[in-house]
Symmetry: C2
Subunit: 334 residues, 2 copies
């Protein structure tokens, strides 16, 4: 068996590889009883004193490395900050591991570093360690790990949603992935679309600061909302009912994804969050989120139920299953 | 200006890139007053309660990925464990970020995972988080970050050596780099040389457990012992005098490096440590180290002095300066 693009595209094919070959090979996947690799959450934790250290990593091979709304440097910061943030943690520090091609322009590297710095300032995190290699890669690759901190037992899990919870999506979907696709095809200048890549820790903190409990939370990156919701449903043993007319999608995204035959629910986002919140707090949470610059287009898109498993969407023409995608339709999206 | 292989080879060229372009672009490089990126140590720290979390990362693009004595999986674990260990920390957890080429054999990935698992068991660490991407790279790339823990204020720094300290090297040098070179040239089967790649946390712990203070410590990876000693000298403002006849080098390494015109002091090691230890404890430390399976060939190789800066080696034919190498003579060594 050989690796295909789908093994790196989120979704089922990648999940199987991770479950069978990676997780299946490892004996030690957990420290001090914290959240471990076997939980396959956005990050893992190491309990220390009254806190848990949260640890996560993402590698980035996005093509092209500069695109409307961001670049590989900005994604490297935000991707990792966001995985820490959806664990309910306060992001503290990042590592930056670079693999550079021979002949790479040092001015481009400077531009990427400036973008990393700006994103770090936005998110309030520091780059405290790194590594630099030169190899025969086609373009710069950045892997960024991150450390955050959360009060012991307060980490927000994928699996935590409860019957009756409202599902909130913090803004318009599919903008990152479609922007990448358009720039690859040279259509980016004719469109207003730009990547949503942004650090979401401030947005999430604004909800938590009001004492609202978030029962489950993910950043819908590769594989999009469809992948995240299915994971939340599966891990909780519950189901989700979505209202199609409530899902935030810009007109442009609707138009482009219809033209290309791509389901925007399976496309990657880099500055969005999906949360399960107790119904009684959902309107209040929505209001807080809508007051944040990154949450203007937030919506309550559905509800958690025990009446079915998986994700079902109510549409104008009836109900349809929203399945875990085989993989994100846009390769090398992040 | 363009990136050259030397920018990824340890040594002066890489140091300049990191100092000017990387560190020079970043505003936030430190958390809670811990050891920060500006210290350019083997890892950085985040003080939390009575402890400091130690954080480090290394990317690996070694060519070939399987070689005598190890493979990219084993290096990925040991490289990161060792950077944590030379900070005086107890390594706890690793992240594993993979970039795989399309068409990569899944059986090879399994072999690498088994090797990762074995090295983790040896070192007593867990893999708790990771990421998987597929991209057009020529071979698998692994970036592994790591978290360790050390009592507050007890981290061992590059800069900490003191006048009169003895310099200990824990075993024969240059075996990793030369093994890589030989396998690349197809000469590996004719030689007994194999990589020294191994986790050194147990070895270091055996010294610390006896209450011996280690004033400064590094793992002499890319750029070899020459690079590590110069960094320790420069950061402390002191000098080091080496005794050439005490430097542990196997006959085979001596033979090969003479034949190839490579200075073994500039070649990478992946299972060695260099320590500065107060003279009064040096013999005891040496004995402890020699009793550890990884330390059989350890030697006291020199002494810290305030009489000169930098590193000077006493040889049969007089004294010579051991300078920071421009870069490791063997590219893609780790
Ligand atoms: N190479 C790997 N080694 C160990 N664990 C891995 C590896 N790749 C992925 N994982 C684990 O699998 C789970 C899913 O990984 P995934 O990368 O999809 O999560 P994510 O970072 O939230 O999503 P994205 O990468 O799209 O932002 C995580 O728990 C992650 O730690
Ligand atoms: N891309 C980068 N971003 C931020 N810091 C970096 C980067 N590359 C290197 N550094 C920092 O520069 C210093 C030297 O890095 P280097 O990789 O040489 O250390 P090392 O890991 O001990 O050596 P080796 O990689 O050969 O094992 C470290 O403090 C490291 O954190
Ligand atoms: Mg995530
Ligand atoms: Mg992620
Ligand atoms: Mg390094
Ligand atoms: Mg080191
Ligand atoms: Mg290292
Ligand atoms: Mg990931």
């Amino acid at each position: 068996m050989k690796i295909t693009r789908m093994h790196g595209a989120g979704g089922k094919v990648m999940q199987n590889l991770i479950g069978d070959v990676i997780l299946g090979s490892l004996t030690n996947t957990q420290v001090n009883g914290g959240i471990g690799l076997q939980d396959l959450d956005d990050g893992s934790t190491i309990p220390i004193g009254d806190n848990e250290i949260v640890f996560t990593v993402d590698g980035h091979t996005v093509d092209p490395i500069f695109f409307k709304g961001g670049d590989i440097g900005r994604i490297s910061v935000c991707g990792t900050v966001n995985d820490l943030s959806v664990m309910g943690a306060k992001p503290l520090a990042l590592s930056m591991s670079f693999v550079l091609p021979e002949g790479f322009d040092i001015d481009k590297l400077k531009e990427i570093m400036d973008s990393i710095n700006k994103a770090c300032e936005e998110a309030g995190v520091a780059v405290i360690t790194g590594d630099t290699k030169v190899s025969n890669v086609s373009d710069i690759i950045i892997s960024s790990a991150g450390i955050g901190i959360v009060e012991k037992g307060k980490a927000v899990r994928d699996k935590g949603m409860k019957e009756g919870d409202s599902i909130i999506v913090t803004g318009n979907l599919a903008e990152h992935g479609l922007t990448i696709l358009l720039s690859r095809e040279g259509f980016d200048l004719e469109s207003n679309l730009k990547s949503d890549v942004a650090p979401v820790n401030g947005l999430i903190q604004s909800v938590l600061n009001e004492g609202i409990t978030i029962n489950a939370m993910k950043d819908p990156t590769r594989g999009g909302l469809a992948d995240s919701l299915n994971e939340m449903a599966e891990k909780s043993g519950l189901g989700i009912t979505l209202q199609e007319d409530q899902i935030p999608l810009s007109e442009e995204v609707n138009f482009i994804s219809e033209a290309l035959g791509i389901d925007p629910l399976t496309v990657a986002n880099e500055g969005k969050v999906v949360m399960a919140i107790p119904k009684k707090d959902a309107e209040k949470a929505l209001e807080i989120i809508k007051n944040h610059p990154l949450g203007k287009n937030a919506k309550i898109v559905g509800e958690v139920t025990s009446e079915h498993k998986g994700v079902i969407m109510e549409t104008l023409v009836g109900r349809r299953v929203v399945d875990t995608p085989i993989g994100d339709p846009i390769p090398r999206v992040c």
